[in-house]
């Protein structure tokens, strides 16, 4: 009976120790990543290709998402505002929402699926097929070779992709407003500029940078710690996406609390 009652607590205990252990090991990998920055000769060559993969290849999906977000924001804003609130507030809403929230977060989530999963699967495969061991035997520091370029590329390219996505979202909102809603360009732009402060952009870029770091380092972490063949790789990939998505949302709230 006591054992029966104890079981959930034991499970909870195990769950939280695994979580704490995971966070600890992730922290260690992050520490190693920072140390590995000194092997410039190893990672520098690899940075550009990773930037192409993280950044350039992700631009279409990010723009696609941002475009539809912008359209929907404009339509829903006009639906909500009808009557009581002047329509140029559509511009306020589209601009503020794209910059402060949806641009960074949706891009982050999309890229956590794309980039995070990709990194976890690639490094996980390398782990289970002993490619990471092989790197070590060839005297390459694996963290410098694999983790550093990916994390740096994500830190650099997430803000870049996010900026483009925000631009696209606002553009789509504008196009929707003047095509489908009874608004003029000037009205929309008036709304857009009304409450704009440059900090909005800084805020978006801070968010995107932190999301980039998290998505890449979590992907690397799960890739590096993969065990158990193809199945293990699948497992790591899923967990990388789930965990980094959750972390993005938590970080999002964190920044909102600390910076706004």
């Amino acid at each position: 009976m006591i054992r029966l009652l104890g079981a959930p607590f034991a499970a909870l205990g195990r769950g939280s120790t695994t979580l704490a252990e995971g966070v600890g090991r992730w922290g260690m990998l992050t520490g190693q990543t920072i140390q590995a920055l000194r092997h410039v000769d190893v990672w520098l060559r690899l940075l550009l290709p990773q930037m192409a993969r993280v950044g350039v290849d992700s631009v279409p999906i990010a723009l696609f998402i941002a475009m539809f977000t912008g359209i929907v924001l404009a339509l829903q804003a006009s639906y909500t505002f009808t009557g009581a609130i002047p329509l140029y507030f559509v511009g306020v809403l589209v601009g503020k929402t794209m910059m402060l929230e949806l641009g960074p977060v949706l891009t982050g989530l999309a890229l956590s699926g794309r980039v995070g999963a990709n990194i976890a699967a690639e490094l996980g495969t390398m782990r289970v097929t002993e490619q990471i061991d092989a790197l070590e035997t060839l005297a390459y520091p694996p963290v410098a070779y694999l983790v550093v370029p990916r994390v740096l590329a994500a830190i650099i390219m997430f803000p870049v992709v996010t900026a483009l996505a925000i631009g696209m979202g606002i553009f789509a909102g504008w196009a929707t407003s003047i095509q489908l809603l009874d608004m003029t360009s000037a009205e929309f732009i008036n709304g857009l500029t009304l409450f704009f402060v440059p900090f909005d952009v800084t805020f978006a870029m801070i968010k995107a940078t932190s999301f980039g770091f998290m998505v890449a380092s979590i992907g690397c972490f799960f890739g590096f710690t993969t065990e158990g063949g193809a199945e293990g790789v699948g497992h790591s990939t899923t967990r990388a996406v789930v965990v980094s998505s959750m972390v993005i949302l938590v970080l999002d709230a964190f920044w909102a609390v600390t910076l706004l």
């Binding site: 550009l48 290709p49 930037m51 192409a52 950044g55 350039v56 290849d57 631009v59 609130i85 002047p86 507030f89 601009g95 650099i156 390219m157 803000p159 870049v160 992709v161 900026a163 483009l164 631009g167 857009l192 500029t193 009304l194 409450f195 704009f196 402060v197 440059p198 952009v201 870029m205």
Partner: protein
Amino acid sequence: MKRSNEAMVGVVILAALILVTFGTLWLQGVTLRADEREVTAAFNRVGLIKAGNAVKLRGVRIGRIREIQVAPQGDLVEVTMRIQEDISLPDDAVAIVSPESLFGDWQIEIASRDHFPEHRYANPREPDHLPGYSIPDISQLTATADRISADIEVLTERVGIAFSEETARNIASLIENVENVTQRLSDLISQQADAFSGVTEEIQVIAEEVGYAATGARQSFERINQTLAREEFSQALSDMTEVTASLRQITREMEGTPEDIRGMAVKADSTFARINSIMAGLEAGEGTLGRLLEDPTMAQEMEGTLQELQLLLSDIRENPRRYLRLSIF
């Protein structure tokens, strides 16, 4: 394929950099053209304007606010604006801070002093600075106060004309009721001040002023009571006229568009119209004061009217949103 993708890295980064840089500048309203000039205006206070807000002349946007600074002496706020080079301002130009709409966006309207002579403009330190005045934000509340005080004034006048010792007690009770109403209005305003901290400062000031006026009114009413027997009543009445006039003066400064509170205003209007007509009846010779006392319907009507006014005010207090919806937003 691989190589061209890597070349794209540069293109993508460049595109994002350009977007961010020029987008930010554009949204801030910074134009890269140089054909602009700076104008500075001095204010006692500037309400809710911030850098980037519109500067208008005759309702047309001609520039934006660049910088808001308190003068080193601490007595003025100096606002620098950038406006189009080729537009010349009126000789007696003044700058008026006003809401651009009811949604929190503010502006500076540049106008000729002749058009708005009633404002108390700040005195700029520099000769080439424009005198500025900032319209407070709670026009909805003050418009009502304005109307009520105006009507009290009318009422007092009429009472003064109609005065006779015999009816004094009745009128004293009427004045008590008005005092009540004033107190309630003042309570209402301080409640509003608590509820909407965003405009607390503005409201606080007005609430205090109204409260002060109410206190003044009460004092004079008390004096009416005390002096009824001593025939100093007419002196008390002129005191009250003074007080209500000052109340009116305060509220006039807080003018604005009371449109959204029209319902209330209309109700208040009709209430006072009825008071008025009663008083007019008193004034007309046939309706002597004795008749007012003898005629129960007249007295009842007057009482009912006052009750109505009180009902209205307590309704405002309980459902302020019905009347103040837009100021809340």
